[in-house]
């Protein structure tokens, strides 16, 4: 045999390669190979198929109880639809249900508060620890040092109220909302008969942008458009409500209350109208003296003849209604404002505004509201029922300090800024996992999480004093004791002694201030609301680039004001108030904002709200006005004096 040389290896190699190639080609494989390669490199996730059907459910997130249809594929819920309407938060419930940062087991703090370090523990361990601490406080006669803050007055909120009150504490509160601050002021919340009104005078209430029940208001708005109801909106910024209104009354920031005083003044003096509220005479004297129309015109920027015209139209309408509660999802109003606006309703004997109360909900405790609790309250134990006051209250930073010294239990499905300061986090459910009298759960509950109602009932049973508060042990039975709404009879007081100070404070804030020449007011962004929406990716997907772009947050400034301060489009700003300063934000110039005003979006600046909600923008509440109103127990953070640099 000849020796095998390099040339021979080449021939062998060439043969092998050619052979392999021809084998591959002639098998017809290249076509399959490319198809396979395309599919393999894309590595696309293929959703799992299953039996398709629709399942009905009722949302228990808020007292509205909206009905929804959930499209299921197998065991997976893939779409929420509703014939009668559902608010954006509940329509987006799938993103809460399937959020990768859902808490699956009770968490116990394992580090400093706010560090986010928690370890999972078993339910009985957590309940035992919490109940033994409660037992100890109660046995020492310190039951009143146990406080609770509910997100809203849905059934689990009502159960929490019963539980805490049975433990001997009067310190149960509801996060500031239109209903809570109105109730604290007037002894009842207002039920509006919007369907039968022909004239709506709104003082900053963003009627179509999340105010009150957004589901109801969208239907109301459609109805108004069809009927031709006249909507007059007093607002500082040209919001959608202002734009849709028949008449937008641009008012200087924070002067909605003053406008109400002016209109009341005119109706009382020129039209000799009276109100049935207690201390009306005293109040009208105060208003007439303090707020002659000329002064109102100067403060609000609304001309005297316009004020008179609005007042005339309002009083002559068949069934007019005046609406208070500045804002959309996040509502703010001082007691003076609420009283003044409700007074207008009583002056014209409006049939469209009725004071109501719920038999199972008391909005005030030892103090009038959450901010009063943060400022003056003393608590050694705090329950947070899906509430987020650390983020939403203007006194959030102060609350953090008090929470660091108290024992805190938070009931919520995902981490939020307040839960990050809790000793225990007890995971609750989305409404899709809850059982209601009308439906079974749509999806099996997530790991060890429990219905908030069941958690509260279990807590009550574990604490000696409250063992027998609930005669049932299953949350589904608690529907029997759900509170009912009823009219209060309309009695309310003008509370002049307390309101006097509030009015003085308003005047002071509106006076010229050289150090803080501008006013900062909030605006809301669709789907984000007052902050709850930011943890969800599909909400992030809708945020306008003039609000947030490349993770920079923008505030809106009037063009003339920007020229005055030499601010150009996109320039970075530092905003300072008497309470402190905000992190870097950027300016966008628009004439939809009044001069000498900075409009800042609410809902951003979370520190602990899952990776989707955290670290985006700034939270203006940290520097917003924080004087606690004596009647509402809440700060009217709407308008804050600021300076920009």
């Amino acid at each position: 045999m000849k020796k095998i040389e390099r040339k021979d290896f080449l021939k062998l190699g060439a043969g092998a390669v050619a052979g392999g190639l021809s084998g591959w080609v002639f098998s017809g494989s290249p076509f399959m190979a490319f198809q396979w390669l395309a599919e393999w490199t894309q590595d696309q996730y293929v959703p799992v198929k299953g039996l398709e059907k629709y399942v009905e459910a009722v949302s228990d997130s808020c007292p509205n109880g909206c009905k929804v249809s959930v499209r299921m594929i197998g065991e997976r819920a893939v779409k929420i639809e509703s014939k009668e309407g559902v608010c954006p938060a509940c329509q987006n419930a799938l993103q809460m249900l399937y959020h990768p940062e859902r808490i699956g087991m009770p968490l116990k703090l394992d580090g400093a508060k706010g560090s986010g370090k928690y370890v999972p523990v078993k339910w009985d361990v957590a309940l035992k620890d919490i109940s033994s601490r409660m037992n100890k406080l109660i046995s020492e006669g310190k039951g009143n040092a146990i406080a609770a803050i509910n997100k809203n007055e849905s059934l689990n909120g009502q159960l929490m109220e019963k539980f805490i009150k049975a433990a001997g504490s009067n310190n149960v509160y509801y996060e500031a909302s239109l209903k809570s601050i109105t109730s604290a002021t007037l002894g009842g919340f207002i039920n509006y008969d919007f369907a039968n009104t022909d004239y709506v005078l709104s003082f900053g209430a963003k009627l179509v942008e999340g105010w009150n029940s957004s589901v109801d208001m969208q239907k109301v708005f459609t109805n108004w458009k069809a009927k031709g109801t006249k909507i007059v909106q007093a607002d500082t910024v040209c919001t959608m409500t202002a734009s849709h209104a028949n008449e937008w009354v641009p008012v200087k920031p924070g002067t909605e209350a003053v406008l109400a005083f002016g209109i009341a003044n005119y109706l009382i003096t020129s039209k000799k109208m009276t109100s049935s509220g207690d201390e009306f005479a005293k109040w009208s004297q105060l208003i007439i003296n303090k707020f002659p129309l000329a002064k109102v015109a100067t403060f609000t920027g609304v001309k005297e003849d316009v004020i008179k015209k609005i007042a005339d139209e309002f009083s002559k309408a068949k069934n007019p209604v005046a609406v208070a509660g500045k804002g959309g999802a996040g509502v703010s109003a001082s007691s003076a404002e609420i009283i003044a606006v409700y007074c207008l309703n009583t002056l014209v004997k409006s049939k469209a505004a009725t004071l109501m109360k719920n038999s199972a909900v008391t909005y005030t405790g030892d103090v009038a509201g959450v901010d009063a609790l943060i400022k003056d309250g003393k608590f050694s134990m705090l329950f947070l029922n899906n509430a987020n006051p650390v983020y939403k209250s203007a006194l959030g930073e102060d609350l953090k300090k008090k929470m660091e010294k108290a024992f805190v239990v938070s009931i919520n499905p995902i981490m939020n800024d307040s839960a990050a300061y809790a000793d225990y986090i007890l995971p609750s459910l989305s409404y899709l996992e809850a059982v209601t009298p009308s439906n079974k759960e749509v999806v099996k509950k997530f790991k060890e999480s429990k219905d908030a109602k069941d958690i509260i009932i279990a807590l009550a049973k574990a604490v000696d004093k409250t063992k027998n508060t609930f005669s049932f042990s299953d949350g589904i039975d608690s529907y029997k004791i759900a509170g009912k709404d009823s009219a209060t009879g309309g009695k309310f007081s003008f509370n002049v002694d307390k309101v006097k100070n509030v009015i003085d404070a308003i005047e002071k804030k509106l006076a010229q201030n050289a150090e803080y020449p501008l006013a900062m007011v909030p605006v809301e962004v669709p789907l984000v609301g007052d902050g709850d929406g930011l943890a969800f990716p599909y909400v992030l997907k809708s945020i306008d680039p003039k609000v947030m772009l490349y993770n920079d947050m923008y505030v809106q400034i009037n063009r003339d004001t920007a020229k005055k301060y030499s601010i150009s489009e996109g320039e970075s700003l530092v905003i300072k108030s008497a309470r402190g300063k905000l992190g870097k934000v950027y300016a966008t110039l628009t004439d939809t904002v009044a001069p000498d005003t900075v409009a800042i979006p609410l809902g951003f600046g979370h520190k602990n709200f899952t990776k989707y909600g955290s670290g985006k923008g700034v939270n203006p509440k940290t520097i917003m006005a924080a004087d606690v109103d004596p009647l509402t127990g809440t700060a009217d953070w709407w308008s804050t004096r600021v300076k920009i640099s």
């Binding site: 000849k2 062998l12 060439a14 050619a18 052979g19 392999g20 084998g23 399959m32 398709e52």
Partner: protein
């Protein structure tokens, strides 16, 4: 010269044969020919001897028109009751099959030869219900899946169909071949 040819063609032939074989295996797996067939099944006897002439008995539709695909064990135990006798002289009662004991009624132990990628939408309901003017059905199960009725085992007859097959029939029947008809 002869030596060169030998050196070249020996590996050539070996590699051609070898890679041909590997490639065919690869093609088979891409065509899903090895879709798991854990339970043996004979279509021929079930259709001819036991009168299950309508394919829809086991390969049925949901109420909303979606095709159920390969049957679940429930379709089998509907006749081969779990509490029937394993052996018996009575030719009219289906026997109990112990091989089902390891499965729940909701299990689907068969993979699908015809599974299409995610981006293909195919509606059995629409295609199988379509009729000509004179009332004849335009398509039968065998038109695309091959003569399954005569098959005596679970081997693949026609695997994952490529797009051209669908388009050819649509063209012939004057049905739209616009993209959105089959894709989303």
């Amino acid at each position: 010269m002869r030596r060169s040819l030998l050196l070249f063609f020996t590996p050539f032939i070996i590699c051609t044969w070898f890679f041909f074989g590997i490639s065919l295996d690869g093609c088979r797996s891409v065509m899903q020919a090895d879709a798991a067939k854990k339970i043996p099944f004979m279509h021929k006897t079930h259709i001819e001897k036991y009168g299950a002439k309508d394919c829809e008995i086991c390969h049925g539709y949901e109420e909303n028109g979606r095709f159920k695909g390969t049957p679940s064990i429930a379709e089998c135990t509907a006749c081969h009751a779990r509490d029937a006798k394993v052996t018996s002289d009575d030719p009219t009662t289906p026997r109990r099959k112990p091989m089902f004991d390891a499965y729940k009624d909701t299990d689907r132990p068969w993979g699908s030869f015809a599974k299409q990628p995610d981006l293909v939408y195919f509606s059995h309901k629409v295609v199988m219900t379509a009729k000509y003017e004179d009332g004849r059905l335009k398509a039968r199960c065998g038109s695309c899946h091959g003569d399954k009725a005569s098959s005596i085992d679970t081997k693949m007859i026609k695997g994952k169909m490529l797009m051209g097959q669908c388009m050819d029939c649509h063209t012939a029947l004057h049905i739209s071949n616009a993209c959105a008809v089959c894709h989303d």
